[in-house]
């Protein structure tokens, strides 16, 4: 591309150094994961005797069979799916409606309200947790699905994203429909919403991933084992590290919990990267 052939030798040397560094960093990225997978395939007694036994047979699927058979992982996965799915659906609905409202319609106090919503973007979760926890105690919402889902619906990011997106759609589209005397709801539903599908995908994936990986709120709200989300449940088994079930079992559980999200990532990579970087810059 840009190669003046002045110092090919020095250049090749520099390239090798950079390549070596990138390879080194890649190894740092991969090695811990391979280690975890390796341990998950080993018998616990053998591991304790010599960790180097990871590098040779016999390997066993016993830890995975135990994971599927005995741990509560399935209940936690179910809870995580309900919570993340519910929150994603709710966020998409609320954000699309509000985004359309703020971008296209006018009502008294609109601009002031929008500024207040924008201010909400700067409020960290920790600033509202204590009061939120007290409110939910009074409503008896802890250890329920609504207790885990509802707080996420107050996050302003989706509204901000959808408002920007609706604003970018040419006004001529809905004005034409308006002239045909279509109702606002119809225009929103039939004309504009289909155009926002890419934004819906981005927001949906971002919300789902955030809810799936959320740790703090589920930790303080779901205290009963059968209401744990996957993140909290996995954390609860970590506390008795290296005892009881054994390292291999814990590692199998980690692989079991981590693999699906990594596979999803490989398929939806483009959307996930856009969603995460977009949310950071906002």
């Amino acid at each position: 591309m840009s190669a003046p052939a002045t110092s090919i030798k020095g250049r090749a040397f520099g390239d090798h150094v950079l390549l070596a560094l990138v390879i080194l960093l890649s190894i740092v990225m991969i090695a811990p994961v391979l280690w975890v997978i390796g341990l998950s395939l080993k018998d616990n007694a053998e591991l304790m005797a010599d960790p180097n036994s990871v590098f040779h047979a016999p390997y066993t699927l016993k830890n995975y069979i135990n994971t599927v058979g005995t741990s509560s992982v399935f209940i936690w996965v179910r809870n995580s799916i309900i919570v993340s799915g519910g929150l994603t659906l709710g966020t998409l609905i609320l954000s699309s409606l509000a985004g359309y409202g703020f971008a296209r319609l006018n009502f008294p106090g609109r601009d002031v309200l929008f500024v207040i919503v924008l201010f909400g973007l700067a409020v960290p979760e920790q600033a509202v947790l204590v009061a939120r926890h007290q409110i939910f105690s009074m409503l008896k919402f802890h250890n329920t699905y609504q207790g885990l889902i509802l707080p996420g619906l107050s996050a302003p990011f989706g509204v901000f994203l959808m408002t920007q997106y609706f604003k970018a759609i040419p006004k001529e589209l809905d004005e034409a429909a308006m002239l045909d005397n279509a109702s606002r709801l119809r225009i929103f539903w039939k004309v504009l919403l289909p155009l926002t599908l890419p934004a819906q995908a981005t927001l949906g994936i971002f919300t789902f991933l955030g809810a799936w990986n959320d740790y703090f709120w589920p930790l303080i709200s779901a205290t009963r084992k059968d209401m744990f989300t996957l993140t909290v449940g996995m954390a609860s088994t970590q506390t008795n590290f290296a005892q009881s079930e054994g390292i291999g079992f814990l590692m199998a559980q980690a692989v079991f919990a981590g693999a699906p999200i990594l596979i999803v990532y490989l398929f939806f990579q483009k959307y996930i990267v856009t969603a995460v970087s977009g949310a950071a810059v906002r």
């Binding site: 180097n52 409202g101 606002r184 703090f216």
Partner: protein, 311 residues
């Protein structure tokens, strides 16, 4: 119907077809219905708790009662609480360990992987992949790296007959261990932000530089780096806001120990409010955190806004 008749200035100026379209942009109460559902949750679960949290911070409160007014008592207690002061220091120390490293490694990776080869694409995928994992899995992975006996690190050191540094139990290394796990977890975002900034640099500048026989170092120093200066600042601020909220890694890897040396502010809030149920004190601590994060968020807003102006 009255507001339908009240024409806006544009409507009076426009002729024929334009008139009805100008009319629809006049303020109408019924339009409020579209934003009402979101505003309901926003008000009850964000604004109200925010204000209530401030109010709580002036009270001695537990789970079910809001207790007695103590004025600035909770803040005074924080000021004299060695553990809280330690947690502020710990948080800053952690930010100092992680943020510059994340920015520099992220920039390095972006510069190396900003090309259209298949290998570069695979490596980009690899370096971002850890970001989709939950904190629970990340800490599980890194504890199994750091743990004595069966840990990856101690196994590698064992090959050379050496003893691995105790990244979790050694007081001077525990925070470094948490920082390493965090950098591993979070490296994807800075890399991606730098990559998208690099792709926005116009190619013709590079072509001009190539014609002037500029070498790679000169090109990097006088074209690439100045063009992404703003992104660099943005990455730093975003990471400060994110890393300031350290909680899961510290809680799961060290429980804040040894000796509270890895206890960050958020863990202090968790301990105070949700384990000792001293909600007033916990609320006061979260107000302090809120102010610290607000400052960083303001800086971010100013940086992003000025970028918008320039574009």
């Amino acid at each position: 119907m009255a507001d339908r008749l009240a024409m806006s200035p544009t409507a009076t100026l426009a002729v024929g077809v334009r008139a009805p379209t100008a009319d629809i942009y006049a303020p109408q109460w019924r339009n409020f219905i579209f934003v009402a559902p979101f505003l309901f949750f926003f008000t009850t679960l964000l604004l109200f708790p925010l204000l209530w949290g401030m109010w709580l911070s002036f009270h001695k409160a537990d789970t079910f009662s809001s207790g007695n007014f103590v004025g600035l008592g909770n803040y005074a207690r924080l000021y004299h609480d060695k553990v809280f002061l330690q947690s502020i220091w710990n948080t800053f120390y952690f930010v100092l360990l992680t943020v510059p490293t994340l920015a520099l490694i992220g920039l390095f990776l972006a510069l190396c992987l900003n090309r259209r080869t298949r290998t570069a694409a695979v490596l980009r995928t690899l370096f971002f992949s850890s970001s989709v994992l939950s904190v629970t899995i990340v800490t599980l992975i890194w504890r199994i790296v750091f743990i004595p006996n069966v840990g990856l690190l101690s196994t590698i050191y064992g090959w050379f007959g050496a003893t691995a540094p105790a990244f979790i139990s050694d007081p001077s290394l525990a925070m470094v261990g948490i920082a390493i796990a965090t950098i591993w977890w979070c490296i994807g975002l800075p890399m991606m932000l730098f990559l998208s900034a690099l792709q926005q640099i116009p190619q013709d500048i590079y072509e001009a530089a190539a014609l002037d026989n500029a070498n790679r170092w000169q090109t990097l120093r006088s074209i690439t780096l100045p063009s992404i200066k703003r992104t660099f600042i943005l990455v730093i601020i975003i990471q400060i806001v994110l890393q300031f909220q350290l909680f899961g890694q510290a809680w799961l890897m060290t429980r804040g120990g040894p000796n509270n040396l890895t206890k960050p502010i958020v863990l202090y809030i968790y301990d105070t409010a949700f384990r000792r149920w001293d909600l007033g004190l916990g609320a006061a601590a979260s107000e302090i955190l809120f102010i610290l994060i607000l400052v960083a968020a303001m800086a971010q807003y100013l940086v992003t806004r000025s970028r918008g102006d320039q574009a």
